[in-house]
């Protein structure tokens, strides 16, 4: 278990944040949550998390994608793996954006479409943190 691993959850729904925190803590991770990307950026600097779970929302899809993209372009603590959760299927993830921009961040990440199965989510978290082998899809 990853006692020393920190996961940052960014989701604008406080109840989802709570649930994610409870569940991930059950697996021994330390979890910090943010309701928006501004607060998320702060926690990223301060907590230096090992993984980001980011919800891409309809109302602020661009904001989320830009945020993820900006993280991928930078080094150091910013270069962490990102797990994206969205109600939009992957085929539509580039909604309103260019493919090039999307490829910046999507290549190394895992994209999960809602409703995400929590067990799969945990598995993907473990994969991204190097604690489990990826299952061939």
């Amino acid at each position: 278990m990853g006692d020393d691993k920190v996961i940052l959850v960014i989701d604008d729904d406080p109840e989802i944040c709570d649930a994610m925190q409870t569940i991930l803590e059950e697996y021994g991770y330390r979890v910090c949550t943010a309701l928006d990307t501004v607060r998320g950026r702060e926690l990223l600097e301060r907590e230096k998390p090992n993984l980001l779970i980011l919800d891409i929302m309809m109302a602020s899809m661009d904001e989320g994608l830009n945020f993820a993209g900006s993280l991928k372009k930078r080094e150091g603590v910013w270069g962490i793996p990102i797990l994206i959760v969205s109600a939009r299927p992957p085929a539509e993830r580039g909604y309103g954006r260019s493919v090039d921009q999307d490829l910046d961040w999507i290549a190394a990440d895992i994209f999960m479409e809602k409703p995400v199965d929590p067990e799969e989510l945990i598995h993907n978290v473990q994969v991204l943190l190097g604690e489990a082998e990826a299952v061939a899809q």
Binding site: D12, D13, E15, I16, D18, A19, M20, T22, I23, E26, M57, M58, A59, V85, A87, R88, E113, K114, P115, V116, D117, P118, E119
Partner: protein
């Protein structure tokens, strides 16, 4: 005298001496001269020679000069006839002039009188030529315009004041199914439209609504096809006047059948597109709710399996809440889809506002929002379905109460009613919260648009707008980021 053109003159006189005298005199003036010795042979010569001018003695045995004049004019009105009269034949001379002789000269013939008479005849011929040319031009132009009307893609129909059709082109045939011949002989203008419509159109032409009076521009109506079928048309018409008197009406008819079909296709496509989009949005909303539900259920499962009651207790409310959200979403969707206008009654707006405010006051206090009622006294009743208006109020108040950043120092929501000068009543729900960005404002009334994630169904404002519109009212939003938002509803009074 013009050498290129020689006038041909036929002289008819039974007196050889007069004939010779005239021949000599006229030939020396450059005319081509022919002679005949009586009326009958004169008319024969006339047929052979087709002279420009006939000079005839009036008194002759057999066919006299008057008869010659009459027959020449009957056959060739353009030929000028000069009659030669003797002493005391003034009455005959007058009669000759009445029969359109160009002039008369008295015997004995003076050169001067002859030359004046001939000049006048020549002038009349020249004038006649000019007129003929002009006539020809007008005829050609008429032909051109006729062809223009015939080949026009639009239907062109003219009728006189009695409604008889005087122009009916091929375009009109295509729209109406009558041949031009049929239309011109047996169709009355009133039969061009469905019953009663011709009168309406007539009144519109005289009125000012469509570019008039005297004109009608781009009026959409229906034509009545020969088969009785109605054809959508775009009609323009104008009254034609002659010396200030109305003489005819001309209508220009554009067939809108194809356009209407395309329009309908487009509406259908848009509707299908909107429906597809709406379904995608519903699916999206449901997925968000299911996500929360799955997380909750996962906690419950894990808690029960591991006898971790705390975890199960944390998970269960999430399951419950998201079940409620699905229920809400379903009810909201039904309420948006329902078209229910049956329960309208005279309703006091202020009473509804007080009711709605008292229902949300508890929540307002929880959230630290001060809720202020600012209600105008003595308002007339509005005709409304009170239940539906309460839904609107709850939606607006609910949004307003959630419009604040958590740490905002001064949270205020104000509900205002006013009578407006235009006879409507204003309901205004105002907050001094976060405000709404212009991009979001543009989508705010769209069904299933939400900024509240699973907390909102995305239907509240769409339902509110629908109810307001069903009541014949209007709704608008004014907002400035970080300054606040105001929703204004205007409702008609009883």
């Amino acid at each position: 005298m013009n050498q290129a053109f020689r006038y041909r003159i036929l002289v008819i006189d039974d007196e050889p001496s007069t004939r010779e005298l005239l021949q000599m005199s006229l030939e020396s003036d450059g005319y081509e001269v022919h002679t005949a010795e009586d009326g009958l042979s004169g008319l024969q010569r006339f047929h052979e020679l087709r002279p420009h001018i006939v000079v005839t003695d009036i008194r002759m045995p057999g066919i006299d000069g008057i008869e010659v004049l009459r027959r020449v004019k009957a056959q060739a009105p353009e030929v000028e006839v000069i009659v030669v009269t003797g002493h005391g034949q003034m009455e005959l001379a007058i009669k000759a002039l009445q029969l359109e002789a160009s002039d008369f000269i008295n015997k004995p013939i003076s050169d001067q009188a002859l030359s004046v008479a001939l000049k006048r005849a020549r002038d009349k011929i020249a004038m006649h030529h000019k007129l003929q040319n002009a006539d020809e031009q007008i005829r050609q132009r008429g032909d051109f315009e006729h062809r223009l009307i015939q080949v026009s893609m639009d239907g062109v129909i003219a009728n006189d004041r009695r409604g008889r059709i005087t122009i009916f082109n091929e375009g009109a045939s295509r729209i109406y199914g009558y041949s031009p011949e049929e239309a011109l002989t047996s169709l009355h203008v009133a039969k061009l439209y469905p019953p009663g419509q011709a009168q309406v159109i007539k009144e519109l032409i005289y009125g000012r609504q469509y570019g008039g009076p005297g004109r009608l521009i781009n009026y959409e109506t229906e034509a009545l096809h020969r088969s009785g079928q109605r054809v959508p048309i775009l009609l323009s018409a104008t009254l034609l006047y002659e010396r200030d008197a109305e003489v005819a009406t001309v209508g220009y008819f554009k067939d809108l059948t194809e356009l209407k079909r395309l329009e309908q296709d487009l509406v259908q496509q848009t509707r299908m597109g909107a429906m597809g989009q709406a379904m995608a949005e519903v699916a999206h909303g449901v997925k968000n709710i299911l996500y929360g539900m799955k997380l909750g259920a996962f906690m419950v499962d894990k808690g029960l399996t591991e006898a971790n009651l705390t975890l199960a207790q944390k998970g269960w409310p999430m399951v419950r809440k998201n079940m409620d959200r699905i229920a809400h979403l379903t009810l909201d969707m039904l309420s948006y889809a329902r078209d229910d206008t049956r329960h309208r009654q005279p309703t006091a707006l202020n009473r509804l506002v007080r009711e709605a405010c008292s229902e949300v006051r508890g929540r307002a206090e929880e959230l630290g929002v001060s809720l202020v009622e600012d209600l105008a006294e003595g308002l007339a009743n509005v005709i409304a379905d009170p239940e539906n208006l309460l839904i609107c109020l709850h939606n607006l108040l609910g949004n307003a109460l959630e419009a604040f950043a958590e740490d905002a120092p001064d949270k205020r929501v104000r509900v205002q009613t006013r009578a407006l000068a235009n006879g409507t009543q204003l309901l205004r729900v105002e907050d001094n919260g976060r405000g709404i960005s212009p991009e979001v404002q543009a989508q705010i009334f769209k069904p299933l648009f939400t900024t509240k994630r699973a907390r909102g169904t995305g239907l509240g404002l769409a339902i509110t707008q629908k109810i307001v519109h069903e009541h014949g009212g209007t709704i608008r939003v004014q907002s400035k980021p970080n300054r606040g938002t105001a929703f204004e509803i205007e409702l008609p009074t009883a």
